[in-house]
Amino acid sequence: MPPGISTSDFYYILPELVLTGGALLVLIADVLLPRGSKALAWVTLLAIGATIASLVPFGSTHVEVAHGLLAVDQFALFFKIVFLGAAALTVLMSVRYLEIEGASPGEYYFLILCATLGMMIMAGGIDLLTIFIGLETMAVSFYILAGFIKPNQRSNEAAVKYFLLGAFSLGILLYGMSIMYGLSGTTNLRTMATAFVGQERDPRLVLAVILVVAGLGFKIAAVPFHMWAPDVYEGAPTPVTAFLSVGSKAASFAMLLRIFLEGLPSMSADWRLMFEVLAIVTMTIGNLAALTQTNIKRMLAYSSIAHAGYILIGVVAGTPRGVAAMLIYLLIYAFMQLGAFTIIIIMRRQDVVGDELKDFSGLHIRHPFAAFAMLLFMLSLGGIPPTAGFMGKFWLFGAAIDAGYVRLAVIGVLNSAISLYYYIRLVVFMYLKPQGAGSPVTTSPSLGIALAVAVIGTIFLGVYPRLLFDLAEMSARTLGVAAVTAAIR
């Protein structure tokens, strides 16, 4: 029988409480502030800032809250910082975009904060119940955000598609979870891990693992569960796409690591094989499909699918080093992906949608800094030194070799080479083609800040990455990774 709850538990969920309060504050401010006021974005940023500040006391905490429903540890902390940072950048890049699209900002910012809340719960959840309720809070917010630009038919269709496949994948995931609950008699992942020892060959458990892998495969957009991603990325409002491809992906990976490394270490032989196949297929198909895209958002969608494949390599390795490499990669990916989307939003003007390849023609004449920043993000996504993307890939593939998966590392390197083609093609358009049509390309202060942060992050993490790696490795060690390595050897 699970024991009760004490008031000290509420102290440990302080960041979540602050964020919830902030979200409600945004709703109230929306009513009180005059229409069209930009102050709402600052209220939202204030809420995010307050939440980050409230994370400070938990820098080295390592406890289970509510008797095993949530964990407050450095693993969760690392992810929470990634989510909140991504949310802040998303808000910065949304201000002008919302104005151009004529969407109401109050509910938009509220939903961004609620999605972030869901992600934080997912990263901290060590119980199937908290994980899935967090997942749904995030997913439902994103369903609405994807369809937020109502006059735009593509936005609406993106919402339909995302919702249908999201709800379907939730059903599959929940069915797997229900079997896990039944076979272990608990929903707590850590208790579950011990209950499953000796049950490795139970076909029902294998079925549960397959179902959970499939359900999560949808969430991280791994091939063959990726078909929603290109359409949703293309149709959804661009800042939402940015946040979806970074935040939702990171949160799903956090949840994946919690479930498999903490809850199913005894089944690692099965899920490693599945993830290895998924990783190879996902990288390859993602990159090959990206080669032919002419829409930048669609291209970045396939590129994002390919990146999910790279990151999966860390799960297959399963070592603390592999997990640390995943954490770093997700952070680096946040900077370069959000940066690339910021450029696409800068390209969005009253008269130009700006997400086609030809819209980027001759950008280096029209806005040299934007072109340079995009060049940097493309090189980083492709994994060229000295950008952060190179360091991220270096560690991921290194961890794979370290754990004895040389083949995976080789396929990863080959894939990076393929991906260079479509990243460089965009650079060619920006620097070598004649100027495109439309009104001049300008930035706003908030877009400028977002861009600057992304550029600095992409360069800094590429040049001086050591500090970050130590941090990530420390965070990775708080996860039940030690148990996995013990179970394999």
Binding site: I133, Y175, G182
Partner: protein
């Protein structure tokens, strides 16, 4: 002769399969949503059956939350459907023009 845990699990597995089949076979948005509801009911049945076999109430708590989630999804999903219907008077996902299905 009492129905065993296995009987309940088989029932929920078949129910889940029917729901999954519905998602793949049908081309009407509402029917696809109904099929997903059937899948979630199969999940709930599994939770309750396992919970009783384990002699714990936790399974029922989980079902309580799954129902909450189902309600939230239904509300949002139907709102999206209404929005879609405003754009075009069809609920067949194959008729989506601008995005490939």
């Amino acid at each position: 002769m009492m129905p065993t845990l296995n009987d309940y699990l088989v029932l929920s597995a078949i129910l889940f399969a029917i729901g999954t089949a519905g998602v793949f076979v049908r081309r009407n948005l509402i029917t696809i949503l109904l099929s997903i509801e059937i899948m979630l009911n199969a999940v709930n049945l599994t939770f309750v059956a396992f919970g009783r076999a384990l002699g714990a109430v936790d399974g029922q708590i989980l079902v309580f939350f799954v129902m909450t989630v189902a309600a939230a999804e239904a509300a949002v999903g139907l709102a999206i459907v209404i929005d879609l219907f405003r754009h075009r008077e069809s609920l067949n996902p194959d008729s989506f023009a601008s995005l490939k299905w």
